[in-house]
């Protein structure tokens, strides 16, 4: 009897979970389908769900008409560059705070966190003017720099919480054996820190890839990453739903895959360790 009830409960909760999961995912699926339709079919009422004339023409058109690869490359350079530079600055800082904490470490960490809470729009004007006078508007370097600073607090925090979990005994043993700090870093710490480093890298790639305040405000064409490029489809003249969908699908596909791998770290990275 009890067993029956349990099976039934599993069936019900499974059906409900799949239903809601599907509903939440549906807009992405719908976009993916539209990207394989012709413009007419994408716009047609009643809509066709699966039985339409499948075509990959939109993907070719998006590249031909608007040099999609150029913007994708911008996204890769801006997201990748800002994440790598942030890691280079953050690794030593997080290492130092995790392994040689002082009584001020906690204050420094909280202060770093507080810089992340400054709304970007509060400093839009000076950044825009500084960039204008330095000729950094619509430049990849300018965006790399600003996204790197914007994500630096999160990178440091994530690395700090990961480094904290590395057992200290091992480090002390290495020190006893006469390992220098350099060797300690390369041979002991790095291998143990790689999982943490990888998830920090992943989460920040995602955040930088999707960042849409600075990229929209500071880039227009030559440095425009995919966020800005997709925004250009918002112009009212002519509705190109199939092409919009193709460009969007390409823009989110790689990050969706990365995101699915990093979903566990997401909680940790975005709550600053407040929820584990």
């Amino acid at each position: 009897m009890a067993r029956m009830a349990t099976t039934r409960r599993v069936m019900i909760s499974t059906a409900a979970a799949w239903l809601f999961g599907f509903l939440i995912f549906f807009p992405i699926l719908w976009m993916g389908l539209a990207s394989f339709k012709t413009e007419l079919e994408a716009f047609a009422i009643p809509p066709s769900f699966l039985f339409f004339h499948w075509t990959t023409e939109n993907y070719a058109t998006v590249q031909e008409r608007s040099d999609y690869l150029h913007h994708a490359m911008n996204s890769i350079i801006i997201a990748g560059g800002s994440t790598l530079i942030a890691l280079l600055i953050a690794i030593p800082a997080a290492w130092s705070m995790a392994f040689s904490p002082t009584k001020r470490t906690k204050d420094i960490l909280l202060w770093m966190l507080s810089t992340k809470m400054m709304p970007p729009v509060g400093v839009l004007v000076p950044i825009y003017l500084i960039y204008k006078s330095l000729g950094l508007l619509d430049s990849r370097i300018g965006l790399v720099f600003i996204l790197c600073l914007g994500n630096l607090p999160i990178v440091i925090w994530m690395l700090f919480t990961y480094f904290k979990e590395i057992p200290r005994d091992i480090l002390e043993a290495a020190r006893m054996d006469g390992a220098t700090i350099g060797r300690e870093l390369v041979y002991v710490l790095t291998p143990m820190a790689i999982p943490g480093l990888a998830s920090t890298l992943l989460l920040n790639l995602i955040l930088a890839w999707n960042e849409a305040f600075w990229t929209l405000n500071l880039s227009t064409s030559s440095a425009a990453p995919l966020t800005t490029f997709i925004a250009s489809y918002s112009s009212p003249e002519g509705l190109f739903w199939a092409k919009l969908s193709a460009a969007s699908t390409l823009a989110i596909a790689p990050i969706l895959v990365l995101g699915w791998f990093s979903q566990k770290q997401l909680v940790r990275g975005l709550t600053f360790g407040a929820v584990k």
Binding site: W30, I89, F213, W241
Partner: protein, 290 residues
């Protein structure tokens, strides 16, 4: 000697990060404060003059400010309420024994990884278009009049899009918290004859209080500066109906080129965000000691 060396090294490793963040925080903020006291229009360069608090008076008494403050509050409040009210049951559901739970998790978390410009445009066109959108078609199936989302209820449309983006975040955090809830405690309660409802009220809900607080605070920080979704769908309109504080400051700075007033607005945004940040930093700080 060695420890002293280590300490010195530790400090020098920390310096670049602290220095950069310090500059990043201080320089633009100082400039914002400085600009906010000037009459400064990019359309009329060379005419900068000190006007004291005039820009603040102008910004704060501008009817657009009150409208955008109200829109900001409605937007943040509604999205918070919706993501929590939908997120708690969804997390509870996903915490049940579900066949293929990992796959369901993937579907639920996916919207969070979609860039804001994409989600906004896909919702605006493919789903919410008053004639050819999927919602319009669904409405007509049921014999209802399709809603012209971005003309009749523009703010609600933006709220729905932003809720879709943030529901996964709330759900994932609440689910993580639920999974750390002690099963034995729940079983003990059930053995003692507690109903499912009272188990939820007296055990699950108190356990969720903290993660809910964290979700509220973190979402608030991001929701206060929602920008891209408004930028690509409504451009703040019609009228001021979807202009929030972030968008108002943007339009004063980069559309009307009024640097002084936009800077004053920027500082107002900083103050609002700081009030939220104050509470979040306290919660995180308490956790750091534990």
């Amino acid at each position: 000697m060695a420890t002293r060396q280590t300490q010195l090294l530790a400090r020098s490793l920390l310096t670049p990060a602290v220095g950069l963040l310090f500059i990043w925080m201080i320089v633009p903020l100082a400039l914002t404060i400085y600009f906010s006291t000037l009459h400064y229009s990019l359309l009329d360069p060379g005419s900068e003059s000190f006007v004291g608090l005039e820009n603040f008076r102008y910004f704060l008494t501008d009817p657009a400010f009150l409208a955008s403050l109200q829109n900001t509050l409605v937007l943040v409040g509604s999205v918070l309420a919706l993501t929590i009210l939908l997120g708690v049951p969804l997390a509870l559901l996903m915490d049940q024994p579900v066949i293929g739970r990992n796959f369901v998790r993937l579907m639920v978390i996916a919207p969070f990884f979609v860039m804001p410009t994409v989600s906004a445009l896909v919702w605006k066109n493919l789903l919410m278009h008053p004639v050819s959108g999927l919602f319009a078609w669904l409405a007509s199936l049921f014999g209802l009049t399709p809603i012209d989302w971005f003309n009749d209820v523009p703010l609600l449309a933006v709220i729905l899009i932003v809720t879709w983006q943030w529901l996964p975040f709330a759900t994932l955090i609440l689910l993580t918290a639920l999974q750390s809830l002690d099963e034995e405690q729940k079983e003990a309660a059930e053995m003692d004859g507690a109903s499912a409802v009272s188990t939820f009220i007296y055990i699950t809900l108190p356990h969720l209080a903290r993660p809910i607080t964290v979700v509220i605070l973190i979402e608030t920080i991001f929701l206060l500066t929602v920008f891209a979704e408004i930028f690509v769908t409504t451009g703040g309109g019609p009228g001021l109906q979807t202009t929030n504080i972030a968008f108002l400051i943007y339009s004063q700075a980069l559309i009307q080129f009024d640097v002084g007033s936009a800077s004053a607005g920027g500082l107002v945004a900083v103050v609002i965000a700081n009030i939220v940040a104050f509470f979040l930093v306290r919660i995180v700080g308490r956790n750091l000691e534990a």
